[in-house]
Amino acid sequence: MGTRADDSGRTPTATAAGGGGPSLSATSAARGAATGSGRGRINHMPGAGTARADAINAGRHEMLTDTLRKQIKSLAERGVKRPRIGADAVCEALLAQGVDVFFGFPGGVLLPLYDVLGDYPELRHILVRHEQGAAHAADGYARASGKVGVCLATSGPGATNLVTGIGNAMLDSVPMVAITGNVVSSLLGKDAFQEIDITGITLPCTKHNYLVNDPNDIPRVFAEAFHIARTGRPGPVHIDVTKDALMGACSAEHPETLYLPGFKPKFDGHFRQIKLAAGEIARAERPVILAGHGVLISNATAELRELAEKAQIPVAHTLLGVSAMDETHPLSLGFVGMHGWKHVNRVIQSCDLLIALGMRFDDRVTGHVPTFAPYARIIHVDIDPAEIGKNVAVEVPIVGDVKRVLAALLPQIEPVSPEARAAYLGQIAEWKAESERMPWHGSGAWRDGQLSADFVVSQIGAASGHDATIVADVGQNQMWTARYAGFRRPNSHISSGGLGTMGFGLPAAMGAAVGRPDKETWAIVGDGGLQMTAQELMTLVQDNIPVKIALLDNRKLGMIRQWQELVYAGNYHSSSLLGPDWLKLAEAYGVAGFRATTPEEVDGAIAAARAIDGPALVHFVIAEEQNVFPMMPAGKGLSDLLEEQFEEPKQ
């Protein structure tokens, strides 16, 4: 098949003793020493069960119920003797919205804001190393916690650096408020230093955006922005504030009510459509639910499970729907699509009713639309009317919040006994057993004893008790994570689905760890993606954010290499890449580093990383040419999967 283009200059089997920080001399050989001592020593900051964690939970609750906090401590109550300026209004507005932490990077036009931040000690500012990291961290924070993530950047390059993260949040419907500074309003449009038309740039990749040049507009704009970001289909809202608006005197109060006549999301599904859906479900013989991100966003996991159990309907997931249902549940199938499980794609292609909940028929899910789910009638529930009929024509559209629609639908569902579906579910179980057996390298080795990535991922899931928040980067690592980590807790899986942003993993895990300090957090990243945002290792150290990084290092842009092997006849241009000595890099940042190069070393390295009080990196030297199978080639349908040429082990 492929050429072994290892131009890294390093032998993949090298296990030189790495060592982390000054007091750490951990290697994969330290397996015995590190195991067992881990659990009690993990100290997430702020710790689970502490007053701070409780305050975060209380804030989350308030945000979810969409009530503005009425009591905002004034400057006088804070004992600060100076006039209130726009920057104060920004801080008050953030507090009023329940923000406890945000990610930012200062700059010239933001200095008025940073000048007053010290007067608001309740606001934790995390200084990132690149603004893209701030946006991804806000994104990861929002997905892990359910709250609105907030990031902050200065004008010009700071603002443009945010854009990738804003676009990522837009395509994955993540509630985020991105704040940028801009030059004083008298210089707007004059090509001033660090001036760029950032509202023009973010317009197509935000749910809404604002340019604020009057300090008295700040309270209203921030209240609207948070409401828009988290209400209905969530999304990023960008606020561009000029320097004079931050500096000018502000007398405006924070509004009690909002006037947004053009923003009326519809939450309750139409009763007639729900009745139609109940009829379809009653008539179907081979129904399947396809659960998307919307199930998690609307917190409808309990309703999903109830529907599945009541009518004995198996549940497939989209990539972002992974973790919407405990994967050990007998009706949970796994994820669908281009790199989804074969048995799931077979179920979709043979079902007679597809119940699509909070998903948008992405091309990675449907493949070639004319051959998608050819025997199925489709019920499509989504809160965004524009998603109905956008990519796939459906029989029963229901516009509404998944949780409310399911709540209204459930009483109309006739219970179905497992026996009535025995033939159908039995067939699926057979397919499932077959597809899980095929590409699964449970021994830990892919070929010739080389470390298999799917094994590493599954061991991380098991070691963390399937309760950790696991954040993937993009590429092969993302698919292995979604397939093999074994998700049981809602929102424990975080992935860049729509935009597919390499470099997302580390900063998003940083945000997720801050958003759910009570949960262990792993970033599973490739060597390509980590080299895009590795500078945030320093942020982890400076703010003691206890992210564990599993680096799946195949010295390749693995998904690129896979496509080149399978689609471009082995023309491996630019898919081999050098990486640094990762243990030395970790050491240079002050991050504890560990390495595993064989299946036997994996558990020890994971345990050693978990035992560290703070961030840690595990360098897994995996096979270079392992592919993710099955794979649906671009332009093909879900029935046209490429599969691994699997050699039976010789007896």
């Binding site: 197509p204 828009i228 053009g262 051959t371 009638r377 009929g389 057979e430 029935s639």
Partner: protein
Amino acid sequence: MSPAGNPGHAPDQASHAAPDHAPHPAPTHAAHHAPAHTAPPPRALPGRGEAHRHVLVAIVLNRPGVLNRVASLMRARNFNIDTLAVSHTDQPDVSRMTITLHGDDVLVEQAAKQLYRLIDVLKVQDVTSDPTVEHEIALIKVRADERNRGEVLTLAEMYKARVVDLAAESLIVEATGTEAEVDALIALLRGFGIKELVRSGTVVMSRGAGSIEEAVKR
């Protein structure tokens, strides 16, 4: 996988030929959506129907950038606008846009739904099949001297157009009417030589007592 007694259910496409992919596992159930021995028809792709002209009215908040938002969305979503006319309404904070575009019904409905996603958009209505008054205005600078001026004036009169400027070598015709009527006049005047042409784009209003704007009035 497919049970032996049930071979006819395998879809008929070449790419589906492998028996492994045969969908119907349970022959005991009546496959009521998929009759035996026929492949299912391909799933329809939205927006690939017959394209014809649609007229949309959008009521929007009169805020800076709203025209940019609408235009940017139409460009980003790959909808081709034929004409776009924007103006104030009787409410100071509300503007009205008339958009004409070509596409099938599903595509235009999708455009309207995408417009609704904009926070500044209050209402969108497809008035294509409603009884409406539809007009646009065109100013046409036509080459005309004393020899053929009379002909131009006659044509203009037949189309109820007015001459609003007169010079030795040219005149300006102001025409109002539906897009088709203006098109027809322009075609006739082209023979004389059109020096300059500007059209306002269609504006439209529903006949009868109903009002799109009243629906959004506070």
